[in-house]
Amino acid sequence: MGLVLFFLFLCYPPPVSLPDLFVSSTNMKIEQIQNINNESELVHKAQKGDQRAFSLLVKKYESTVYSFAYKVCRNEEKAAETLQDTFVNVYRKLDQFNGKAKFSTWLYQIVTNNCLMKRRQSKLDKSSVSIESHGGGQAESELQGDGAPSQPLVSLTQTPQDEVVNKELREHLDKAILKLPMEQRIVFILRDVEGRSSEEAAKILKVSVPAVKSRLRRARVFLREQLQEYMEA
């Protein structure tokens, strides 16, 4: 009986389940992933149904997607949801990627659409509403009575006091950017924070380069005004 069972075990080894394969491949070291220089080959394999190739793409880009989503939403929970939605969409639409643009550009298109969709679904961005209803008063109250910030703009040596300042500054930056319309916010982050070119931002958003520049100008001017008190420090 034991011999029969052993024979059956040899003949029918348990197949590696897809989730196991998927998870195990994500344990690859980052260096290994970065060494995959032929990205188009990886994408091509993933398009053909190679789950390992897909999981490598996920591993390679998950931080980029999460970081971008966080910078747009300024909220970890929303960033995590956007991350999930983005890769689900990537998997479903992978065969639509034709390789004419860079894979990262295509990925940014998807994550950007997800950010915009999330905004539309919620209709009211709670953060924006709360800030606008306060007219930025809360942020102002964090400054000195005369309106001047009490601390230097950027601290070069980190002290406990600086940490408080940095936290305050970060909150101020978050509040200011959340007041921007989503289209301007995304352009500002793509261009000024992520360092993408105007041409690439235009491709991602499917708008013209002058439209990108116009949105960017408005975003920069608005944010500068919002941070005026810090500028004069």
């Binding site: 389940s17 897809l18 989730p19 998927f22 998870v23 994500t26 789950q51 999981s55 996920v58 998950e62 931080s63 999460y66 970081s67 966080y70 910078k71 970890e76 995590a80 991350l83 999930q84 890769f87 689900v88 998997y91 703009l153 950027v154 500054l169 970060r170 930056l173 950017i177 500002f188 982050i189 261009r191 000024d192 924070v193 360092g195 105007s198 520049k213 116009s214 960017l216 100008r217 920069r220 001017v221 944010l223 500068r224 941070l227 005026q228 810090y230 500028m231």
Partner: protein, 85 residues
């Protein structure tokens, strides 16, 4: 008075151009003229500096990294989706 308004208009034009093209590597005739203007106009120079500071602050504002829990949830969700397909 007329001179002042012309000068103001020029500063507005500079401000618009700078706000649209900051960080672009341009070397057009207009760009050179604007650079020249910036050398002699303290108001525009101040505006440019504050714009640079704004961008610097956002560029250097750290974003949290992806947590182990978020990564695990992503992988589990994708695995489930793939197996169901």
């Amino acid at each position: 008075m007329k001179k002042k308004s012309i000068n103001k208009l020029h500063c507005n034009e500079v401000a618009k151009y700078v706000c649209e093209n900051l960080d672009e590597h341009l070397n057009s005739r207009k760009c050179r003229a604007i650079k020249k203007h910036l050398q002699t106009c303290p108001k525009c120079t101040k505006q440019l500096d504050s714009l640079k500071k704004t961008v610097f602050l956002y560029r250097n504002c750290p974003a949290p990294g992806i947590s182990a829990q978020t990564h695990k949830k992503l992988m589990a969700g994708l695995s489930l989706m793939i197996t169901r397909k």
